[in-house]
């Protein structure tokens, strides 16, 4: 089943459809329970948890406080190491850079490790237009790609499927595949089919977990080994990352890495941690002959302009916020219609896509605060969501730089109604007249008042207003005393 969505503009209808899919809800419930348990056991000592979160937050804030300097230093040090650094303002520029590298090498096949930024720029789609195949090699991504589907989680892309559905996917798309519910067999199928592709690919593409300014190094976190394959076997390696992923010192890496793996999948460490600092050097026998780094803005500098929004960029992409979000757990990742779903997606997507496209998304929160409570770098997601809701409804204040799509959710009727209510509520005569008539006309209150009654019963006004009740009570008191 293809769960692809039409985009964040259709969040409400997509969420409704997802809620009506019992299999999907069961798959997500199971997966989220598993991930929540794993995180809990990885942070069994609350004192240690607090300390590592404090430190991780401090490191990210320090690095962001000198972001432009660190990016320049990263550029200088990578270049010195022989890594070619490219800068891209948006998706088109990033795709253009990658396409030109591919064309220079007459590449027909790009084998990809996990990279959310490549999803963000729709790399696969854009390269296909040029006759270049992009093949996902992360098991989850591979399954999702076979189905023409999109990832529904940033670290577990095929989380919305159970093993039966994976077997069905393989059966539909792979020759000579015998359906099975044995997970080992399913994984071996993926392994075998992808091995030849690692061998054949002209270019390997990866994301970046941490880019170290001090040494000009790229760090990659993974379990499968496909990341190592992509960055080692093909003769060209292209890494793509958002500009916020830079850290100042190599010593910033171990605490952030620990916070990342424990928050994401509850692992003390992943199977592989790969630090790449240069292409193959003279005398070395393997590794890519060229390494490229593409640094992408795509709206991140907009988030950087504002002290609150800037905290969005602290994110280390662990996915803990979505694993603990009651909305995500119920509707799943596709309903959001964005590359980054869940709480972090709700605060990063408005910068990447504009508030006009994402105004429905910023309302999809229960404000329970679970996301902020588990975030390893302490991003105050609910506070930022509040700010985005305000920005979606109102024009910027005088000293603020407007966001893309600012005030796109503003409604004249709503704003007039609010102004009218404010006037009435601060004018005693009007207020009393209003509450008096509400109690008298309560019978006219309809049972269905739009979205409010979707999951609530319609409110009924009381027989008497609070003012009347107090007046009566005081009167009685006077009589008895």
């Amino acid at each position: 089943m293809n769960h692809s969505s039409k985009g964040p503009e259709h969040f409400h209808s997509q969420a409704k459809a997802a809620l009506g899919d019992p299999q999907l809800r069961q798959n997500f419930r199971g997966a989220m329970d598993y991930l929540q348990d794993k995180r809990k056991s990885a942070f069994h000592d609350p004192v240690e948890e607090e300390k590592i979160r404090d430190l991780s937050e401090a490191i990210r804030q320090r690095c962001l406080s000198k972001l432009p300097q660190l990016l320049e230093l990263l550029d200088t040090n990578c270049t010195r190491n022989g890594i070619e650094v490219h800068w891209a303002e948006n998706s088109d520029e990033a795709n253009d850079i990658i396409a030109r590298i591919a064309q220079r090498h007459e590449a027909k096949l790009i084998i990809k490790g996990k990279s959310m930024v490549s999803e963000e720029i729709e790399l696969n789609h854009e390269m296909a237009k040029l006759g270049i195949e992009c093949l996902e090699s992360d098991m989850g991504e591979y399954i999702v790609q076979l189905d023409g589907d999109k990832p529904s989680h940033i670290i577990m892309p095929a989380i919305h499927k159970n093993k039966q559905e994976v077997s069905d996917t393989f059966e539909h798309h792979l020759d000579n595949f015998t359906p099975t519910l044995d997970v080992d067999e399913l994984i071996q199928t993926g392994r075998t089919r992808l091995r030849q592709k690692f061998y054949d690919a002209d270019i390997g593409l990866s994301g970046v977990n941490f880019a170290v300014a001090e040494t000009g190094s790229l760090c990659l976190v993974e379990n499968e080994g496909n990341g190592r394959m992509c960055t080692t076997v093909p003769k060209v390696h292209i890494a793509i990352t958002g500009i916020e992923k830079v850290v100042e010192f190599l010593s910033d890496v171990p605490p952030l890495y620990s916070a990342l793996t424990r928050s994401a999948t509850g692992q003390a460490i992943t199977t592989y941690f790969n630090i790449i600092s240069s292409p193959r050097k003279s005398g070395e026998r393997d590794g890519p002959l060229e390494v490229h780094l593409v640094l992408l803005d795509n709206g991140r500098t907009q988030a950087y302009q504002d002290a609150d929004m800037r905290k969005t960029l602290q994110c280390i992409r662990c996915g803990a916020c979505m694993n603990h979000c009651p909305v995500y757990t119920r509707v799943g990742g596709h309903a959001y219609g964005t590359v980054y779903p869940g709480p972090i997606g709700q605060i990063i997507s408005p910068h990447l896509m504009g508030l006009d496209k994402t105004k429905e998304l910023v309302t999809a929160s229960s404000f329970c605060g679970a996301c902020a409570e588990v975030c390893p770098v302490r991003i105050p997601i609910p506070d930022i969501l509040q700010r985005l809701r305000t920005a979606a409804k109102n024009p910027p204040e005088a000293d603020m730089i407007p966001m893309t799509g600012q005030a796109s959710a503003a409604s004249t009727l709503e704003s007039l109604a609010m102004k009218g209510f404010a006037f009435a509520a601060t004018t005693p005569t009007l207020y009393h007249a209003g509450t008096w008539s509400a109690t008298k006309l309560k019978g006219l209150m309809p049972d269905n008042i739009g979205p409010w009654t979707q999951c609530r019963t319609s409110p009924k006004f009381a027989d008497n207003t609070l003012h009347q009740l107090i007046k009566t009570r005081n009167k009685k008191k006077g009589e008895t005393s």
Binding site: R62, H86, L186, I187, E224, I275, R285, D286, Y304
Partner: protein, 242 residues
Amino acid sequence: MSLTASSRVAKRAILARLNRVKLPPIEKETLSYPRWKTQDEQLLTQRFIAGLSANHAEVICVNSTEIAATLTQVLTSKAYKSVVLGCACDETLSDSAANECTAYHCEKGEFYAEILAGARHCDLLQFDSVVEDFKSRLFNEVDAGITHCFGGIADTGTLVLWPDRAEPRTLSLIPPCHIALIKRSTIVSNFAGMMSEQAWQEKMPTNIVLVSGPSKTADIQQTLAYGAHGPSQLIVILVEDR
């Protein structure tokens, strides 16, 4: 517009937007977090083995005289016919290249004789040419790759590989089994400590890889499966050298 020209324009624009925000740079924090640490050699080794074993690696403890026999036993019991190893650099490098070698590179060959003896019944391949000339055999013929280790991290049960011209990166990646020899004296308490005590930031090589088990995935219904893309088996021969 040429690739570099448009990239330069983008760089200027991105940095200009970032620089528009006048932020006082935050100084390095004085915070720290509790890292697992011990002076007790036995505890150190125990934790190292426990971590690796929990992540599905096989750990065999030996003294240096037992390496060859142990290796033979491992290769025979798994019925591995073809193994690949790096080269002891003193045998293969020219004088000038050998001079570039750090002391570490030369240690790569430390157990070379033992490996040769231990694998003498196997088809023994040496990774002595560029991968392009070797790729087909590496992908299709080899059962196991044998490497030395740069060090070990006890806290998480992790091998630190520092691939170089003597032992390339793919040696520990492409064959279905990775056999790693590690000296007990190179095991330290934790990752951050190893990095800072050895001042890695001053001498980053092309590639460093931390390995904490065989390749794995839980991408299908959160069910753990080994041998996703890298080696499905990791066998660690821990050599007592104290």
